[in-house]
Symmetry: C2
Subunit: 192 residues, 2 copies
């Protein structure tokens, strides 16, 4: 993709976020976003299927970040090590310069139940893709689904902490601490 | 609730399941269900908000089953023991005589993406309620959310196995084996 297209895309995303926060998601149209980004509505729709997808198109890159790390983990890695590797992939995606965008995006989603549902469904789809990548590596069921779901559990908790007001630790540090806490919680003395 | 009402409700549920399987979910109306159950449409709507809720109203009882066991676990129980207790609550709910109903229901849901989304969202809500019940017991974050999500992870995997063709083990046995497998997966040597 040529650089100018990427610029346009980022301008559209920035304009959308600004309008969703200042005017409200429901009150903003694709035409409003295009106008604020100084492009035509047709250009908006070349980049995004609709105004909702401005908030969710990054999920494809995130899925790739997760799944690539699952695929490239050492061949003898245990599921937990593969999960840790996948979370490192997410950490590369959620770089420090993305935190403000993610925070703003989360504020918009938290204010809109329909967007929350969309987010949940996207994350459920992500878990399915990670489980598939684990099975491709030879991880059997139910370990593959349990690992993939646990990866998403850690991701969800870590992400919420990462975008919380005042949090300054990098995503990778939070994710590792959360994975460690999951190990602690699920390895209690009462395991049956 | 008087016995006759419960009978009507069960008749409506049985008629709905039969129609959803034989004719298709989208092709069945609340009026069709009422007619098959030999009651008026108004009676249908006294029991269910719409035709979709015939498939989902049990979720409230399931939530209660989970949350009650979380609340009533011994006061010194570790999160994992509380999860095991909650899964026992689910096992009481998914008694052997419910398996055929659950199998049929699952077949209908698997054939309909909108129902799958509804199911995912209901389960996400269940995780939120379990986390809340854990916090009420004094379990701190992020352990409460990690435990609740892990509980739902185990539940989802165990439930899918329980309704699989040919599976004969009781839900409780499958859930315990799955919880054990989760402990194994998340306690690998590569824990950081």
């Amino acid at each position: 993709m040529a650089r100018w297209r990427s610029d346009t895309r980022e301008r559209l995303q920035a304009a959308a976020l600004h309008l969703y926060l200042s005017r409200g998601y429901d009150e903003t149209t694709a035409a409003d976003i295009a106008e604020a980004a100084e492009v035509t509505e047709r250009t908006f729709f070349r980049h995004f299927a609709d105004k909702r997808e401005v908030l969710f198109d990054g999920r494809e890159f995130l899925t790739t970040a997760f799944v690539d790390r699952v695929a490239s983990a050492p061949s003898d890695a245990e599921p937990l090590a593969i999960i840790a590797s996948a979370l490192d992939g997410a950490a590369a995606f959620f770089a420090p310069e993305r935190r403000e965008w993610s925070r703003s995006r989360q504020r918009i989603i938290d204010a809109n139940p329909a967007l929350q549902e969309r987010e949940l469904l996207k994350l459920a789809g992500l878990a399915v893709e990670i489980a598939e990548a684990l099975r491709t590596r030879g991880v059997e069921e139910p370990a593959a689904t349990l690992s993939a779901q646990s990866c998403l559990t850690v991701f969800g908790v870590a992400f919420a902490a990462w975008v919380a007001d005042g949090e300054t630790r990098p995503f990778g540090d939070i994710a590792r601490a959360t994975l460690h806490e999951l190990t602690r919680v699920t390895a209690g003395p009462d395991a049956r």
